[in-house]
Amino acid sequence: MTSTAVHSADAYHDLPRLMGLMSGDEKHGPAATSTLDALWVLYDRVLRVSPESMDDPERDRFLLSKGHGPMAYYAVLATKGFFSESLLPGFGSYDSPLGHHPDRLLVPGAEISSGSLGHGLPLAVGTALGLRAQGRTGPAVWVLIGDAELDEGSNHEAIAYAGAVGLERLHTLVIDNASATHGWPGGIASRFAAEGWSTATVDGRDHQALHEAYTAPHPGRPHVVVARVEPKS
């Protein structure tokens, strides 16, 4: 194991403590941590983004669409140096930049303001189109949504269009904790596959599987990774 990997593993194991600064409790239920491993692997090993690169148009973009329950997101951003962990205890207070839904004008490192479900994927489509129109083929665009968020019809407008035009730089990460009341018969990935997306469904706690799914080639097609974690209830 390299020293970087050791450091990275230490940082990962420190995330529950950081979340505890926000919740006052180091033990978190599965719902609060459903995004934790997927976010960690993405920020630690895949995204080309850092506090120094936030004004660089060539940076990768990560859009947290499922803005509800952002503690894991804030913990990862703090660990990666986007802001000090001293901000975490103020979570949700009047003077804090860290709300229960993130605001891009307040949170260093946040690409979008979210909270209302179903906005991130259309914004990500527009972001990918905007980068392409400027000849920036390098940056990857990632958006995280939840399986219940997929209920919102705006997602299906975006999934159909992005598949039809082969928006290759677009990546969707679906955290599936089986919280959609009416479920997704046939599986979530099939909804994307039907529109021409490249798909991978993996264990959302398995870091190696996540990494492989994130980095799988998908020429000419957008890519979805469905990360399955413990059911919400």
């Binding site: 906005h119 400027q134 705006s154």
Partner: protein, 301 residues
């Protein structure tokens, strides 16, 4: 003479050649008119299909990358249907763009109420920072569109109409134009309402201000016009969308001056009639004869 929508297509197609920051986003409506521009700029003329939430979301995403989106469809599907997208995908993200609507309140009466959006300006009025242009002639539409496209990251709404005035006026974005002066009241005619208003007030001793930008509201010009009058300050608004939309703006312009305001425009009640534009204007009491009766009745009270 071309229509405002035709002028929109020709103007924006030229602007796409000149300004690499601009991109047009469409949802089927208007696509055929932009076919040539799309061939020239395939990455900057985007048709998302009949998907209006995505239409606005894509516009917001383009703005996040530093581009200036020009988003176009009928007002019903641009403002009313994806209203939360306007609120969150632009304003809440701290970005802006140019929205260009067509069909407005009564442009296609035979199409019925599904294709009418008299509440569009009132809805945008609930949000912060939107500029609203309402041209009354294709030449004015071009002036206002060029100004909107060049307005940095401002959020701008341009309300095009099939209804307009016979002659263009030399309008300045953001300012009311004094078309005639009188001393017994001030009538503000918005965009396509000017010809009917001028016909209605013939022989009356009133000032007519022509408004092609209604947000921000040109308070200075209104105050000057009111203060030049005699007696009580009477203001009549004639707007081609929901009646009374700008009454609050008039009140805000005159906080220290006792005044009366009459807000004329489109009623909330559906006419449930088809037919043509002239018939609908009469049905809404916005034809010259009805306007004269309503305006002079108000001023003589």
């Amino acid at each position: 003479m071309d229509t405002m929508r035709e002028r929109f297509t020709s103007t924006v197609s030229r602007l796409l050649d000149e300004d690499p920051r601009l991109a047009v986003v469409l949802a089927e409506i208007g696509v055929a008119n932009f076919a040539e521009a799309q061939r020239a700029h395939p990455d900057r003329v985007i048709n998302v299909g009949i998907r209006e939430q995505l239409l606005v979301g894509v516009g917001g995403g383009l703005a996040l990358t530093g581009m200036r989106p020009i988003v176009h469809t009928f007002a019903s599907f641009l403002v009313e249907r994806p209203f939360e997208q306007l609120k969150l995908d632009f304003g809440h993200q701290g970005t802006g763009g140019v929205l260009v609507s067509a069909a407005g309140s009564y442009d296609w009466p035979a199409g019925g109420f599904t294709h009418m959006s008299p509440g569009d300006v009132a809805l945008l009025n609930t949000l912060d920072g939107w500029t609203v242009h309402v041209p009354g002639h294709p030449d004015e539409a071009e002036t206002l569109l060029r100004h909107a496209a060049a307005a940095d990251d401002d959020a701008v709404y341009v309300r095009l109409s099939a209804h307009g005035n016979t002659a263009p006026r030399d309008v300045t974005p953001g300012r009311f134009l004094t078309v005639r002066e009188g001393r017994g009241g001030v009538v503000i005619a918005v965009g396509p309402m000017l010809d009917n208003v001028l016909a209605a007030v013939a022989g009356l001793d009133v000032t007519v201000l022509y408004a092609t930008t209604v947000r921000p509201f040109d308070e200075r010009s209104l105050r000057a016009a009111v203060q030049a009058g005699t007696g009580s300050a009477d203001v009549v608004l004639v707007e081609p969308y929901l009646a009374g939309t700008s009454i609050t703006a008039v009140n805000d312009a005159l906080p220290d001056l006792p005044h009366r305001v009459l807000g004329l425009g489109i009623g909330r009640r559906e006419l449930r009639r088809y037919g043509g534009i002239e018939e609908h204007l009469a049905g809404q009491g916005l034809d010259p004869a009805s306007l004269r009766e309503r305006i002079s009745g108000f001023l003589s009270r």
